[in-house]
């Protein structure tokens, strides 16, 4: 039995003349998936399409087998946390979540219990009975997350969930996402902090100008980009000599020597042969201090595929 | 041949003194205001009455021209306290309209998007900010109130001669002081309205409403309780009472000038307090 997936099939959405997304095709397995792209690239549109808040002009969507045109069923298994800061003015943290749960049809006791559990998970028990309007920015972010997870959804769609959170809460929230993903659920989030995306995501979806630029596991995506040779940073006490030796290898396309003459930026078309060559040179007396792959991360992917000024 | 490295360099030159810096905000506002056609139009209209008054002064000082006019008219046009009172009453109304037009755009834009913290991270205190906004209004309103008033006074002195000056020099003080109080009041109302209401049209309506509503309230109080002290709550009436005393014109029945001046001062103080509450760069939530 195949794992349930989030499937987009040639989906387009325009707001009048304004482009939302253009011919998007996706197949997202369970786990943590990050949506990455510049502002205005269509991330929020994608998320709204996933939760059925808007409907596509063309194409079809299936969220773990359920269509967003069936909100009764979809919203039961979906939790959505937007990036916009809006809670009813009368709401305390606790009542905000409880009310949402009551709308799901939970009984009062069950709703309160679940709400409390969600608040505990996000560390908001102290502030639960204070008005949301009096919360700090980080707390408002957390209460939004809490209401998204309160009903234990199979599918979490989160728009910039870590924005404004301090490092401790970030780490805790990431741990929460990981535990969720380990249970076979979908956690789809958008983020601008690429180093974090690198560390926490199982899959990544890069989107720009309303179109999907890349999709899949980060390393696999990197492997598929052939136009750009792999980059490595090599530190060595006699870098110039090492560079000379490396030039004799035919898979090396470019070597840059750093100003301090202690490290090299090496570009190679064949990672395996490069690793062998390094092993050989290390044995031959070149004292190689460190070897670091420079572009197997989302930062590099972003730059190659989406670009942007530097 | 030379290659120039031009780009951003940190400014390390002269810094201006306090007064020059104080004028920066008013200068910006004035420049922006006088580009607006409606403002210029209203100012031109506000000058019509002073011009007419100038005409009257010319007539009274040239008796030969008067000969042709009816008797009642001749006694009507005499340049004294009453003349200037009528002048002030009219210009006072224009002052309200003008401040209703100008006022709303002064503070609301700064509050709408949290710009106050940018102002106050510079060497500018809250009183300085408020005063500079006040200065904008003061400057513009002065141009249609005591400045033409003094010019008319000067014109009369020039035509009538020094004996007239010796007899009536207190009038000049009365004009300036009287208008100063009025302009201050009107400016404060406009600033307070701008600080609390974001939409310019509504803020402007609020400025005008302030005066008309209070006048209605005053009349109601007088009618219901059968007293006359209600008039003190009507800023226009109160100002009028104060002017009458300053210009040595006989007062109307009702609260005296001193009481009215006190009420006016009280209103101005209240408005200042109300304004101060809004001018905080940082909100402290308890």
């Amino acid at each position: 039995m195949t794992a349930p997936a989030v499937v987009f099939d040639e989906v387009s959405k325009f707001y009048g003349e304004v482009l939302g997304v253009n011919r998007v095709t996706l197949n997202i397995p369970p786990g943590i998936t990050s949506l990455v792209g510049p502002n205005g690239s269509g991330k929020t549109t994608l998320m709204n399409l996933m939760t059925g808040l808007i409907h596509p002009d063309h194409g079809s969507i299936r969220m773990r087998g359920i269509s967003p045109r069936d909100p009764e069923n979809l919203m039961r298994i979906t939790g959505y946390a937007t990036q916009y800061d809006a809670a009813p003015r009368w709401a305390t943290g606790f009542s905000f979540i409880t009310t949402g749960l009551l709308l799901f049809g939970c009984g009062r006791a069950e709703a309160e219990e679940k709400a409390w559990k969600a608040l505990e998970r996000l560390g908001l028990t102290d502030a639960a009975h204070r008005k949301v309007a009096a919360y700090s920015k980080g707390m408002r972010q957390r209460v939004r997350l809490a209401q998204a997870i309160a009903h234990e959804p199979e599918l979490l769609v989160l728009d910039e969930p870590l924005n404004g959170l301090d490092p401790l809460v970030r780490a805790e929230t990431i741990a929460l996402f990981r535990s969720w993903a380990a249970q076979g659920r979908h956690v789809i989030l958008s983020s601008h902090v690429l180093q974090e995306v690198d560390v926490i995501s199982d899959q990544v979806v890069l989107i720009a100008n309303g179109m999907i630029v890349a999709e899949g596991e980060i390393r696999n995506v990197r492997d598929e980009i052939h136009e750009h040779p792999s980059q490595f940073i090599v530190r060595c006490s006699d870098a110039s000599n090492l560079a000379a030796s490396l030039f004799s290898e035919d898979h090396i396309t470019e070597i840059k020597v750093n100003d301090d003459r202690l490290s090299l930026l090496v570009m190679t078309r064949d990672r395996e042969r490069f690793a062998r060559a390094l092993g050989r040179f290390a044995g031959d007396g070149h004292r190689i201090d460190s070897v670091i792959p420079a572009d197997e991360n989302v930062d590099a992917l972003y730059e190659y595929l989406i670009g942007g000024d530097k | 041949m030379a290659v120039y490295r031009r780009g951003y360099h940190r400014y390390q030159g002269r810094i201006m003194g306090r007064w020059a810096r104080f004028l920066v905000l008013p200068r910006f506002s004035w420049k922006k205001l006088f580009r607006q056609r409606l403002v210029v139009l209203l100012m031109v209209v506000s000058v019509i009455w002073p011009l007419l008054c100038a005409g009257f002064i010319y007539l009274t000082n040239h008796a030969d021209l008067l000969k042709g006019l009816p008797r009642e008219f001749q006694s009507f046009i005499e340049v004294n306290g009453k003349f200037f009172l009528v002048f002030m009453n009219t210009q006072a109304f224009f002052a309200i309209f003008l401040s209703a037009l100008i006022g709303p755009g002064l503070i609301a834009p700064d509050l709408a998007n949290n710009a106050l913290q940018l102002y106050f991270s510079r060497p500018l205190t809250r009183p300085e900010y408020a005063l500079s906004r006040l200065a904008v209004l003061f400057g513009v309103l002065s141009l249609i109130t005591w400045v033409p008033g003094l010019l008319l006074f000067g014109m009369q002195v020039g035509m009538a001669g020094s004996w007239w000056f010796r007899a009536n020099w207190t009038l000049s003080l009365g004009i300036v002081a009287g208008f100063a109080i009025w302009v201050l009041l009107v400016s404060m109302v406009a600033l307070a309205s701008s600080a609390y209401v974001r939409w310019k049209i509504i803020a402007g309506a609020l400025v005008m409403g302030f005066f008309f509503i209070l006048s209605g309230v005053a009349t109601m109080i007088n009618g219901v309780f059968r007293v006359t002290w209600g008039h003190a709550l009507n800023p226009a009436w109160a100002a009028n009472a104060v002017w009458r005393t300053l210009l040595s014109v006989e007062p109307i029945e009702g609260p005296g000038a001193a009481a009215c001046a006190l009420v006016l001062a009280g209103i101005i103080l209240l408005l200042a307090l109300v304004l101060e509450r809004k001018l905080r760069p940082v909100e402290v939530i308890k």
Partner: protein
């Protein structure tokens, strides 16, 4: 004789009924040299309150705060004329063009008329808003408004620029541009920067010193420059090939290590052992090296330790007598720039 940029002496600040800053003392930065100071801490630690106190928006309950030698409350004017502030919240005047806005701000900071206009244009080009500078600020996108906020903070060439979450909400290219601008500010223009951020990687990239706050107190101060020059603590290794025997082979070279799976290893070398032994070992085990890196404590680990979440940072815990962060919990002022 060096003087600090920010000097705090038992500073206490109360907001409403709560005492937010509870007696902090510190000396940060070096006046006259362009350095960046990072201000870190969980939400509610008092970072914003500290910044606002430095700007003179809050009055201290007790103690003293001095910026560039001037007292923050009694010499507020002198402080504010030498400081630029980029607030975290959205802050602009909607119906002004960027040029007018910058022109006004420069004038308010005391620049004479023509210079103010010149600098307004210069700084707008510098932050990348050159093409859009004649448009009204309300038409700007979020990233552009952030840049405009930065522009008004530096237009008057202040000695100290205070940035509160400058990269918040910026997409990756804009973030890189912002960080590059901050680096240029301190390196090329010689300004001091006080950077407040939750993104530890941004702080690591840009800052020379770091101050960590918690519950209204300073719990840790760290000189990142010294950290970067420190001894390498342990080795991160990633190999391709069959690494099942590697664990057993490590003790032979006197090393200890643990695997994270997928060919990833963390190995501690005894002191004075050359990296060459690793290469020899790899050749011996017929493994290809994909990644070989000497690890120092990241700022994240330093932060977690300061918060009490972990007992030791990896670098500290594995080898005794290793730790280049000056000072632990401290109450009296500590001179970070000190002799070393």
């Amino acid at each position: 004789m060096t003087s600090p940029v920010v000097e705090l002496e038992n500073l206490r600040v109360k907001l409403g009924r709560r005492e937010i800053l509870r007696g902090i003392s510190s000396r940060l930065g070096v006046s006259g040299v362009g350095k960046a100071i990072g201000l870190l801490g969980p939400n509610g630690a008092g970072k914003s309150t500290l910044i606002l106190t430095l700007l003179g928006f809050h009055k201290p309950l007790g103690g003293q705060a001095r910026v560039l030698g001037f007292d923050c409350r009694s010499q507020m004017r002198e402080v504010r004329s030498r400081v630029g502030y980029m607030p975290e919240t959205d802050s602009f005047i909607a119906n002004m063009t960027a040029v007018t806005f910058l022109h006004l701000m420069a004038g308010l900071s005391g620049l004479p008329g023509e210079a103010a206009l010149e600098k307004a244009h210069e700084v707008l080009f510098h932050v990348g808003l050159g093409e859009a500078r004649y448009r009204e600020l309300r038409t700007y996108s979020f990233g552009m408004k952030q840049m405009a906020k930065l522009a008004q903070a530096i237009v008057h060439g202040p000695e100290l620029v205070i940035l509160d979450e400058p990269t918040n909400g910026l997409d990756p290219s804009a973030r890189q541009r912002m960080l590059r601008l901050v680096r240029e500010m301190k390196e090329e223009q010689g300004m001091n920067v006080l950077l407040c951020s939750h993104l530890l990687r941004d702080v690591e990239q840009v800052c020379d010193e770091v101050v960590i706050m918690k519950d209204g107190m300073i719990v840790h101060e760290c000189n990142l420059e010294e950290e970067r020059r420190s001894n390498k603590s342990f080795v991160e290794l990633e190999v391709t090939g069959d690494d099942r025997n590697l664990q057993g082979a490590l003790p032979a070279i006197g090393a200890d290590g643990v695997t994270e799976g997928g060919g990833r290893w963390r190995i501690v070398l005894p002191p004075k052992v050359d990296i060459q032994v690793i290469w020899d070992l790899m050749a011996q085990q017929n493994l290809l090296v994909r990644k070989l890196n000497h690890r120092r404590d990241t700022l994240e680990e330093i932060f977690l330790k300061a918060m009490g979440h972990i007992a030791h940072t990896p670098g500290e815990g594995l080898l005794p007598g290793n730790g280049n962060c000056a000072a632990q919990n401290h109450k009296d002022s500590k001179d970070l720039r000190g002799t070393a």
